[in-house]
Amino acid sequence: MTTAGAHDGALEHLKREGRIVIVGASLAGLRAAETMREKGFAGSLTLIGDEPHEPYDRPPLSKQVLLGNAVADHTTLPRRRAIDADWRLGVPATGLDMAARRVRLGNGDEVEYDRLLIATGVRARPWPNAEEASLDGVFVLRTRDDAVGLQRALTDSPRRVVVIGAGFTGSEIASACRERGLNVTVAERGSAPLVGALGGVIGEVAAEMHREHEVDLRTGVMVTALEGDPSGRVRAAHLSDGATVEADVVVVSLGAQRNTEWLAGSGLGAGPRGIACDAGCRAFDVRGIVTDDIYVAGDVARSPHALFGYQFLSLEHWGNAVAQADTAAHNMLSVSADRRPHLWVPAFWSSQFGVNIKSVGVPPMGTEIMITQGSPAERRFAAVYGYQGRVIAAVTFDNCRWLPFYEHQIESTAPFPPPFSTVDRRPEGNKPVPADFPDPSVPTHGPTITLSGYSPADRKMTFTPGR
């Protein structure tokens, strides 16, 4: 038998009676399972999820659920097809034995696999002080249960809500609160909302939107402490500028942490920044060697993207979870020559203060920005980001029908600044300006120590105090 023949035989065997385990029962895990069955996988399929719910959709939780237009328990994802899986819900994976091809579960069970897909995603970064985080009225928003609790607290007509962090989730929460007529204070460490994702120029537009809708927006401040009353209910947030804001509800919206702790010591290349994998979704081990039987998809994955200089990108995007799951599932059931790369162009949306914000490409790679259509003052515009003379990303506010055009520009490395002009190009948008992203080399979280020097003999330590 030829080598190719032997490989085909192994693949046929896998498809017929192999064991595939998916850890992570959310959007990426479900879509991967569907694709595997579509491709004729007839073996045993196990889905492991730490939440007790079958896969549900998260984007509505910070939008229509908080507005009261949908019920948090009603966001179960529709299925594209039956997947005939063995569901292990409400039990987390706690360990991985790569040599024995075995996943350990929190209840002591072990599940063996021939192919493993890891799609454990991220979780909300909690408030760092556990005692303050456990006060009544302090929430994060990531899961369905979080949304049920927060929605209930907002229905109780709190006198004021404090939102810590003005990223997309924090801004959407603030927007929903205002729409419900609630007083809301947003405390953001950066210079403006959304500044990390979209830069200072767009951040300024977002800040104006907050203020127009009477959000009490405080930028350049950190929340230093949450204060409770004797009954254990939160009553105030203390800010780094000395101010105190009284509130009945505090929503901690400080981004996400990747769910990789369960892989510690497994030998897989997993850490706080996610699980590194190749463009075909195959995970790297700690030695930087690609595995043959372990794949990664969704928020927890970090994969190199050819269009963006092979930079390893972690994308916490809905569409990325769908596309990467599909690619991983395809590759898991294919011989190497038939595998395909995950080349999805990053894209996301947000809805806040009645404005639809959408983006394609990688805005934080951009060094310059130029308004190409419409006007920020009217909250209706398209802007493109430039990087080394090419278009690297675009964002629209209530102008989403232009996005496919810009997506093509990014895919074809079109020149920046764009040579075309449009009928609605305003004078203020005629030339690029700096996109004004925060300097990534400046530490923002507490004190850090960095090492310098070429050999261990001349290593130096530099201490940077917290800001």
Partner: protein, 86 residues
């Protein structure tokens, strides 16, 4: 009836909000809000909305309850969830 809209794909044409206004609603000029678990009595409207979406962004799964009382001709064609990517 479970549904999800791929809002990366959605371009705010509002056909769904026009055809099934109890399930889909525009919020501002182009943001879409929808009820991800629509009641069975909305079935006909939702099926029309799924079919009319110019970018085919709505994925719908009909549950057993939705399939009950389905006219025979429809039921034959809907054994698989309607509205998937085409």
């Amino acid at each position: 009836m479970r549904l999800v809209v791929d809002l990366n794909r959605c371009q705010g044409y509002a056909q769904c909000a026009f055809l099934a206004p109890d399930v889909f609603a525009m919020h501002g000029d182009e943001s879409l809000l929808y009820n991800p678990e629509a009641p069975p009595e909305q079935r006909e409207d939702v099926l029309r909305a799924v079919a009319a979406c110019p970018v085919q962004a709505i994925l719908l799964e009909l549950t057993d309850e939705d399939m009950a009382n389905m006219p025979a001709a429809d039921a034959a064609g809907s054994s698989a969830p309607s509205g998937g990517p085409r």
